[in-house]
Subunit: 336 residues, 2 copies
Amino acid sequence: VASTIYDIAEEAGVSTATVSRVLNDNPGVTEKTRQQVVEAAEALDYQPHASAQSLARQRTNTIAVVVPVLANYFYLGLMRGIQQALAETDFDLMVYAPSHPSEVDTQVERAAQRGRSDGLLLLSTPLNDDLARRLQHADPPVVLVDTQHEAFESIAVDNESGGYDATRHLVEQGRQRIGHITADPEPPPGTARREGYQRALRESGRTVDASLIAACEQQTFVFSEEGGYCAMQRLLDRDTRPDAVFAASDMQALGALRALDEAGLEVPGDMALVGFDDIELSDRTGLTTLRQPVYDMGRMAIERLTRRIEQPGQPISSTILSPELIVRRTCGAAGG
Amino acid sequence: VASTIYDIAEEAGVSTATVSRVLNDNPGVTEKTRQQVVEAAEALDYQPHASAQSLARQRTNTIAVVVPVLANYFYLGLMRGIQQALAETDFDLMVYAPSHPSEVDTQVERAAQRGRSDGLLLLSTPLNDDLARRLQHADPPVVLVDTQHEAFESIAVDNESGGYDATRHLVEQGRQRIGHITADPEPPPGTARREGYQRALRESGRTVDASLIAACEQQTFVFSEEGGYCAMQRLLDRDTRPDAVFAASDMQALGALRALDEAGLEVPGDMALVGFDDIELSDRTGLTTLRQPVYDMGRMAIERLTRRIEQPGQPISSTILSPELIVRRTCGAAGG
DNA sequence: GTGAAAGCGCTAACAT
DNA sequence: ATGTTAGCGCTTTCAC
């Protein structure tokens, strides 16, 4: 029942080329014939066939984003920015969310398949060398968010300095034994945050005490609430407890908070806590944290990507934003 | 640089038809030639062209979902189920999120465009008659979630009975003046919930007092935190305040909670509160609410949709699930 | 078992 | 200004 340009051409008494011209607002058509075509198209309730257009144009007008997990506040913030920025373009959005970490490569390959999208956005997606090589060789431009790779455009936050600031803040609050919660396996941003933590300790004339660092295997995915909960429990089980903890993410900090609560410990009295990300929940919880400007990062990512699609071959740039310390209740700072 | 089946055909010394057969695991190919083709494909690092396949097969292996707003906990829950169910199929996912309510129709049309997807999932998306007619006539099967329409398969919760249960529970807690927060404009689920609220009042021998019902215009989208906040403020400004409120959604209830907090009122002491949805935040907040089984709804929606894609023309079914009352702190019930 | 060739629905060069 | 026609990359019918 669906009509094609051939039907329109026949109905309007012109060739399919002319129909195509009219439909695509190409110049060189009399107003009269344009009218005829437009009317015929409406009469037949014409809709172009997306796949056919993509094939002929060699362009899908679609961008694909792979996100480790959709149902997560951090990625949600990014998606908001992505979606808003996309609304100002005429690109559609495909979402690839691996149901398991082991699926990441498959999903990336799928998202990058020829003829599927004009550009690829990878959120926190680890790129092994093999994948990176394939992606470089493939046509669709790639933009990385929350990761880096010299071969691709990227947008991320300075995780090291964020970890440094978080820890530094705790030192300034007079905390003596500052612990850290990370993830196992530790993703690249986690490593940077931990290194910032360690640098802050050293610069404050303290020694880095391995017994103050805890990580739990992440069953679901990295930086989970569960992981923070379990890591905090381990910290509490040890001989000398910390009196402050910098968690590598807000979700982990929230989990840590739960463990603290169950253990009957006061925050920030018995233990100060600083997270990382500033997800929406953190505001409600009063969690001190380092804010990642996720909305802007999402927007920027789309801007960068569309620019690369429009003008390929531009030099690659890596954008590093500064996370902002947001002081709330859990760090024990005055005021707030 | 990208290779096509012609390249493979040449490399393997066979025709493109044979290549296609091998690549699609079609029968009728010697093991020997199959080997040759496979090797050639690997040597050339072949990847099929998605648009070309879609066009030739008249099938995209993609399902499109339109969601009023991505960055929202309710839809996030649905998306989780959708994504998980999709992972078990070989469908990809396109997401259409109107950046403004006025964009809904445009986005639906876009999602439903020929050759874009094999099926359409509409989350809470209002269908005017015109749109509904077009969708019926178009090929891709449609499944509705959180809305209903006799012409389409749908999955929703019994909102009326949910509103009834919520209110009834408040009555049983001994609350005297039970108010209601709804949205303006009031979406269909909102209407049903309000009607359930009103029925419960009547059945409890009370009169429905319009001054106990408040709604605020929703600037962003329906059922927003802002809306609940503002509605609660109005309720508090009135002569006789309610001592309990049933909010049409958890987000609104959370906003109401904020207003209460700012007004220095105790929950549940001064005011009991019941929400609707049971989003993740509600557990952390201790909000009594009616749970929508979003994860299951998402899964079911995909199952229904893929079934319709595989076997078109099946009779339409409308599934109504029961929301479950989750008693927490804010309703003032004993225990937990 | 394999190949030739005709689509799928559209775009765009090239003619006229 | 309009039409003819050759693709885009793949699938699939129909011969052989």
